[in-house]
């Protein structure tokens, strides 16, 4: 599954595929949480942050980002508020909550386990 996340197969694919695998949905959630773990951001900022952190490899589409953000907000992992951006524009800012931080830890831990497992399988062949 890992290879599908690439510059040329945008993450939107993953969003569409969510009905087939919750795993991928979880991946997007994890990326968003990770982006927010470094500080409060608006939606646009989340996309930019993920791009930056992935060395421009991951480009999350808006159409996938907002449903994911709202869902995460309903789960209580982030809180949201409207504020004025430093350029003078208003934007909705998202902030990681305490439960969100815990969720990020568990998701990353299980992700690490998965990566490790897949690596082992690949080495074996």
């Amino acid at each position: 599954m890992m290879p599908t996340i690439s510059r040329y197969r945008p993450l939107k694919e993953i969003y569409v595929a969510k009905n087939k695998a919750d795993l991928l949905q979880g991946t997007l959630d994890m990326l968003i949480l990770r982006a927010l773990s470094l500080g409060e951001l608006h939606g646009y900022g989340v996309i930019q942050r993920i791009r930056q952190l992935s060395d421009e490899m991951l480009n999350v589409e808006q159409g996938s980002l907002y449903p994911a953000l709202y869902r995460i907000e309903q789960k209580g992992w982030v809180s949201a508020r409207w504020d004025v951006h430093d350029t003078g524009r208003e934007a909705k800012f998202y902030k990681l909550t305490r439960t969100g931080r815990k969720q990020l830890e568990t998701e990353e831990a299980s992700w690490d386990r998965l990566v490790l497992a897949i690596a082992k399988v690949r080495q074996a062949t």
């Binding site: 608006h42 646009y44 159409g63 907002y66 449903p67 869902r71 789960k75 209580g76 934007a91």
Partner: protein, 885 residues
């Protein structure tokens, strides 16, 4: 937290759709603006920057929609859409809707009605504080009869030796005459020891209840009024507290009034089933009656004591008492019974059975509606295929179909509530008198919640199978064929439909078998040789107050009254007895000795029922004199020490010898008082129609004078017509003397069998409903099957099949389903009717006659149901059938 947020968002989306969408829109817009700014910073021209931003964003509307879905607008909107769509669908298929709603309403209504009774009697807490801590204490007599009254001596011993109870109280019922201000009236009085109200944990509405100081010799008598008596007799005046009232000629001071919802009543203890009108202190003198068993005992358990512990303790004490006083307590044991068990123990099983029965009816209704939905679905195949082709996922289609079926169930439950309301009224009207507090049964919140739950559940049950079935349809086939055809009908659908009909029939068989068993028992009960006649007999109770001090006064009153009554027009004969057959309460019984025979060891001698009568009682009731003679006039004037015995006593103790002239010492007196047997009369079932008559002796009134007697009057024609005249005659003898319990003997009988009749009637009704519904079910399936096979049948007819053969073809198909259903149903009935055993009389729970009869009945009913579709098949026009489609 998560669920709370989701629900909050969804509700907000429902209420403020615009606001929610605007906010999402605003956020998206701000996103684009940020992108634009970034682009400009990266060196694009403003126009270029905007175009690029819009391009990267993609379809804004779609993004808003996707986000809105999460925000929950989608959920309720889809729901509303589905409901609107479902309502349109139901309106379009009006015939289907009406049949389905009525079917469901019958099932749900019956369920609601029975549940409301179950809720009232078995689930709702009793109206006492911590009612689960209240228990009854009883003796168990040597014959194993439970709930036997306790003697004063034993009650005292229990009280002294137990440590399980916070409070303990004894009570017994009496009938006292209330005189002064208005008509004399006979009241039902509960005499209790002072702690009764502490045991029950109920405070008075006015004044106070008993205090320890109220008890004891020479204390002024006190009375606590029931709310009903206070309202009826004293106009609800609060000033009644502290006032004197006259009971049996003695002044009692009213000390309190109980609240309207308070009642503590044990029908089987009270004689005629009337709840207490007032409470007074039960005197507990140490006198000759110390060992007579007439007390009921109620107690409140200490907090840390279980019922089992209390029961074990009481049994130990009873065993000790039996050792200590064998002449009184040999072979007697004791038991502790929770109060709810006391009140409703005997109705619990029938009630759960009834709830089970209506559950079956509801299942049948569900199967029927599921079948209807399946048939309807075939005509909707194309519609659903189109939806699927346009991208509706399977879950979405199932959801929409389920919304429709739940909508149907909700409509059904609205009509069902109306049926339930009617049903409850009918239930209360026909319920036996001893089903206490049924008057308060009604549609309350618990019942409404139950109905709502039941209807949602039924909606899902009958909707699920069709919904899944349809959503599995093959898209291509349905679109191509564009409607119904036998080829497009997957065998799966036919199999499902057949399975539904088979289970309907099986369920109906179980109900019919149960109802059949009850009906047969009921008929047997009616046919029992009870030993007396019931037609044209009027009965009424006269209870003389204590002012009639001497026996001759009492005897004189009754013989004068009888003389006057006998002279009334249409009266053929009139007599008296102390305890009328089947009057609904207890009689008296005791031991006896046969003079000249060796005396058996204490506690093991023979026993008999004891009745007190005059000579005319026997001809009036149609009880035959088998040997010897009836009481003479002289024997009815003063004690001559003579008795009559019944056939059972003669046969048991004088088989082969002549009973007439023998002398019995019946142990009813302080000193031995042997009496001579002068005649033998026929057996009468006094206590119950079910049990054989035990041995009994009849004393003439002067030998054993009771101050309350029941008049029995045989008339020409309607006996009730004479009642006012009889009451008038009694009042000319004593203007302060009321009569009570004016009933015909037929009414007495009918009240005695009322519970059995009630159960039979209800179960019969449910079984009838079940049969009707399954007939409708089998009709629907066969009708539909014929419609599907129109072409095939047309072809058969075209190539020379006789219409009769077609008829048989259809009937055979229906018959096969019925027989499978009946066989399965009989198997279930064999397993389940055992639960009815305690309600049956004279037949076993597996009764071949009943089972055969109902099987034949069901086969006939289903053949009738198949006949209409079969006739339709027979009349198919081959030409039109082949051109069909």
């Amino acid at each position: 937290m998560k669920w709370f947020n989701i629900i909050r968002d969804r509700l907000r989306a429902l209420r403020q759709r615009e606001t929610v969408i605007n906010e999402i829109d605003r956020e998206m817009r701000s996103h684009v603006e940020l992108q634009v700014e970034a682009n400009i910073r990266a060196g694009m021209s403003p126009r270029e920057a905007r175009e690029h931003a819009m391009r990267t964003f993609g379809n804004v509307n779609r993004a808003v929609d996707a986000a809105y879905d999460v925000k929950g607008g989608g959920f309720f909107e889809t729901l509303l859409q589905d409901i609107r769509y479902g309502a349109r669908m139901l309106a379009k298929h009006r015939a289907f809707t009406i049949i389905a709603v009525i079917t469901l309403a019958l099932g749900i209504g019956a369920n609601t009605a029975i549940f409301s009774v179950v809720n009232e009697l078995l689930l709702r807490p009793l109206p006492f504080r911590d009612a689960d801590r209240i228990v009854m204490l009883w003796e168990v007599n040597p014959e194993g009869r439970h709930q036997n009254s306790a003697s004063r001596a034993n009650y005292r011993a229990w009280r002294a030796q137990t440590s399980s109870y916070q409070y303990l109280a004894a009570f017994s019922y009496q009938r006292y005459n209330l005189t002064g201000n208005g008509e004399p009236e006979e009241l039902s009085v509960q005499f209790a020891t002072p702690d009764l109200f502490k045991v029950l944990g109920v405070d008075p509405l006015l004044g106070r209840t008993f205090l320890p100081e109220d008890d004891g010799d020479g204390k002024p008598p006190v009375a606590v009024l029931s709310y009903a008596l206070w309202q009826r007799r004293f106009g609800g005046q609060p000033s009644i507290v502290g006032q004197p009232i006259t009971l049996n000629g003695v002044k009692y001071t009213v000390i309190g009034v109980m609240p309207s919802n308070f009642q503590f009543h044990m029908k089987q203890r009270s004689g005629t089933g009337r709840p207490p009108d007032l409470w007074s202190i039960l005197p507990m003198p140490l006198d000759s009656n110390e060992r007579g068993r007439f007390l009921a005992t109620v107690a409140r358990l200490k907090d840390n004591v279980t019922v089992e512990h209390a029961d074990a303790e009481l049994r130990t004490i009873a065993a000790r008492l039996a050792d200590e006083f064998p002449q009184f307590n040999k072979n007697f044991s004791a038991e502790v019974l929770p109060l709810r068990e006391q009140f409703f123990g005997n109705v619990r099983r029938p009630l759960w059975l009834m709830l089970g029965a209506v559950g079956f009816v509801l299942l049948i209704a569900c199967a029927n509606v599921a079948n209807l939905l399946l048939s309807l679905a075939t005509t909707r195949e194309k519609e659903i295929a189109v939806r699927a082709a346009l991208g509706a996922r399977r879950g979405r289609i199932v959801r929409q179909l389920l919304t429709e079926s739940i909508l149907l169930a909700l409509f059904g439950s609205v009509l069902g509530l109306f049926f339930a309301w009617l049903g409850i009224k009918a239930l209360v009207a026909i319920s036996p008198r001893d089903l206490v507090s049924l008057q308060t049964v009604g549609l309350n919140v618990t019942v409404l919640l139950w109905t709502l739950g039941v209807s949602l559940l039924t909606g899902i049950i009958f909707g699920l199978a069709p919904a899944f079935h349809i959503s599995r349809l093959n898209l291509n086939d349905s679109l191509k064929e564009g409607g119904k055809s036998e080829a497009g009908q997957a065998t799966g659908s036919r199999r499902l439909r057949n399975a539904l009909v088979v289970s309907e029939i099986a369920l109906a068989v179980v109900l019919l078998a149960s109802a059949g068993l009850l009906i047969r028992s009921f008929i047997r009960l009616q046919q029992v040789d009870r030993g007396f006649q019931t037609d044209n007999i009027l009965t009424m109770v006269v209870r003389l107050p204590e002012s009639y001090k001497e026996d001759p006064q009492v005897i004189g009153f009754f013989s004068q009254a009888l003389e006057k009554v006998r002279q009334l027009p249409t009266v053929r004969s009139a007599g008296i007895i102390n305890f009328l057959p089947l009057y609904g309460g207890m009689g008296s019984s005791t031991g006896f000795k046969i003079l000249g025979q060796p005396e058996p060891p204490t506690g093991e001698g023979p026993g008999c029922d004891v009745r007190v009568v005059d000579a005319d009682y026997f001809p009036t009731m149609g009880i035959p004199l088998l040997r010897g003679r009836n009481f003479s006039r002289a024997e009815l004037r003063e004690p001559k020490h003579v008795i009559l015995i019944n056939e059972a006593l003669a046969r048991t103790y004088f088989s082969g010898t002549e009973p007439i002239g023998q002398r019995l010492d019946v142990l009813m007196f302080d000193t031995p008082q042997p009496a001579e047997i002068i005649g033998v009369v026929g057996n009468v079932r006094y206590d119950s129609l079910i049990d054989e008559s035990p041995p009994a002796v009849y004393f003439p009134h002067p030998d054993l004078t009771y101050s309350f007697m029941t008049l029995v009057i045989r008339t020409d024609g309607d006996p009730t017509a004479i009642a006012p005249a009889v009451q008038r005659e009694i009042r000319t003898l004593d203007p302060n003397q009321p009569v009570s319990d004016v009933r015909t003997m037929n009414q007495v009988m009918s009240e005695w069998v009322s519970r059995s009749r009630f159960n039979t009637l209800l179960l019969g009704l449910f079984a009838g409903l079940a049969t009707l519904l399954s007939a409708v079910g089998i009709f629907g399936v066969m009708n539909y099957s014929v419609a599907l096979r129109t072409r095939e049948i047309g072809l058969r007819l075209a190539v020379g099949a006789q219409p009769r053969q077609v008829l048989l073809l259809v009937l055979r198909q229906g018959l096969l389903l019925t027989i499978v259903g009946v066989v399965l149903g009989l198997a279930a009935a064999f397993a389940l009717t055992r639960l009815l055993a305690s309600l049956l009389f004279g037949i076993g729970a597996v009764d071949t006659t009943t089972f055969t009869t109902i099987s034949i009945l069901l086969v006939i009913v289903s053949l009738l149901a198949c006949y209409l579709p079969a006739r339709r098949a027979m009349r198919i026009d081959p030409l039109r059938a082949l051109r069909y489609e």
